[in-house]
């Protein structure tokens, strides 16, 4: 069985594509055969974050419209043997995606022996986002500890529990996880930023990872290397923890506590 994981958020700019790239890499590094699909038709970006932007010949819409085969459109990652990227179309609009087309591509990926498909959702709640989540088995809802992001995430949780295939079938529905990004433990300690437990309580679902605000994230996207591959960065390590938890392992939360400041840094400023 292929497991379909949607990475979604409602609000834009919270780190969906960064998260999709790192989760896909992390799962593939564990030996799973993974495809990561960009559903943001018209605003393709996953290719840049994955560092394969110059190798895009055919895209997701080409496959759906039958203008090429799935094999032709899948871009094989140069770093990890079992990882493939399916880019979004840059020139079409969102209507180019259809439910039947998406279903057909997912079915073909299953027949090709893919273990996991990561769907990188566009922002918003329009067609692209609706299709990215429709076939999901699990959802990673990316949220920043900030009012508009948390509220939008709750809208998305509502859609996940009503407008997905699993919701329509009854049964257990889509398994939902929260992933906090841009987390700043110092600001949480100062009372300027909502903490992990605040967000968890408000939304009422379990947290699969907390990614600290880190310079590593920008450097990684500058270079087109998913941040999980930067094992020295806190964000990279936090994503590796999140992948382990997705795979059912237990890991303590890291990088969520403020560093204790020494006497001198308190007096003279950090």
């Amino acid at each position: 069985m292929t497991e379909v994981i949607v990475v979604t958020s409602g609000k834009g700019g919270v780190g969906k594509t960064t998260t999709s790239a790192s989760l896909a890499v992390g799962l593939a590094k564990r030996g799973k055969k993974v495809a990561v699909i960009d559903f943001d038709v018209g605003l393709r970006n996953l290719d840049l974050i994955m560092g394969c932007e110059r190798r895009v010949v055919y895209d997701f819409v080409n496959v759906i419209q039958g203008e090429c085969t799935l094999k032709q459109a899948l871009i094989k990652d140069k770093r990890i043997e079992t990882l493939y990227v399916l880019a979004a179309s840059q020139t079409r609009d969102k209507d180019a995606l259809t439910k039947e087309g998406v279903e057909r591509v997912l079915k073909e990926l299953e027949e090709d022996g893919f273990d996991t498909v990561v769907c990188d959702s566009p922002a918003g709640i329009e067609k692209g986002a609706a299709l990215a989540m429709y076939f999901a088995d699990r959802a990673v809802v990316v949220v920043n500890p900030e009012v508009s992001s948390v509220r939008d995430s709750d809208r998305i949780l509502g859609l996940l529990s009503s407008k997905t295939r699993r919701a329509e079938q009854g049964g257990t529905g889509v398994e939902q996880h929260l992933l906090l990004t841009r987390y700043n433990p110092e600001r949480v300690a100062n009372g300027d930023m909502m903490g992990l437990n605040d967000v968890k309580d408000i939304l009422g679902i379990e947290v699969i990872g907390v990614i600290p605000e880190s310079e590593g994230v920008l450097s990684a996207s500058n270079a087109g290397v998913p941040v999980i591959l930067d094992e020295a960065s806190e964000a990279g390590q936090a994503y590796a923890d999140a992948v382990a938890r997705l795979c059912g392992e237990e890991r303590p939360m890291r990088f969520t506590e403020a560093q204790k400041k020494g006497f001198f840094s308190r007096i003279f400023g950090a």
Partner: protein
């Protein structure tokens, strides 16, 4: 935090203000969506239907169930449309309500 910051009064804790505002708005929006505390309704509807079908042959869509708000309280309304019988007068919806 530098030396002079120590003597400055700290602003109000904005994170707890944010969390409180969100708790209220998220709860309201979930209610408006019919989500949140009532996500057992579809299952309950199905189970009630099964019980009724032991005695009366009703359609799957004959049961209407919803929660309404009256002042502070909530009311669970359940109505079942019974099938028409040749001899009997047109079936009136058997309405039943109780506090949720």
């Amino acid at each position: 935090m530098g030396l002079f910051d120590l003597f400055r009064s700290r602003p109000k804790n904005t994170a707890s203000v944010a969390a409180e505002r969100l708790r209220i708005i998220v709860m309201q929006e979930r209610k408006a969506d019919g989500r949140g505390s009532h996500d057992y309704l579809p299952t309950m509807r199905r189970e009630i239907l099964e019980v009724i079908r032991k005695y009366i042959n009703v359609d799957a869509d004959a049961i209407d169930i919803h929660v309404t708000h009256e002042g502070e309280g909530e009311v669970l309304e359940l109505s079942v449309v019974l099938p028409e019988k040749p001899a009997a007068p047109p079936a009136a919806p058997a309405a039943d309500s109780e506090d949720a």
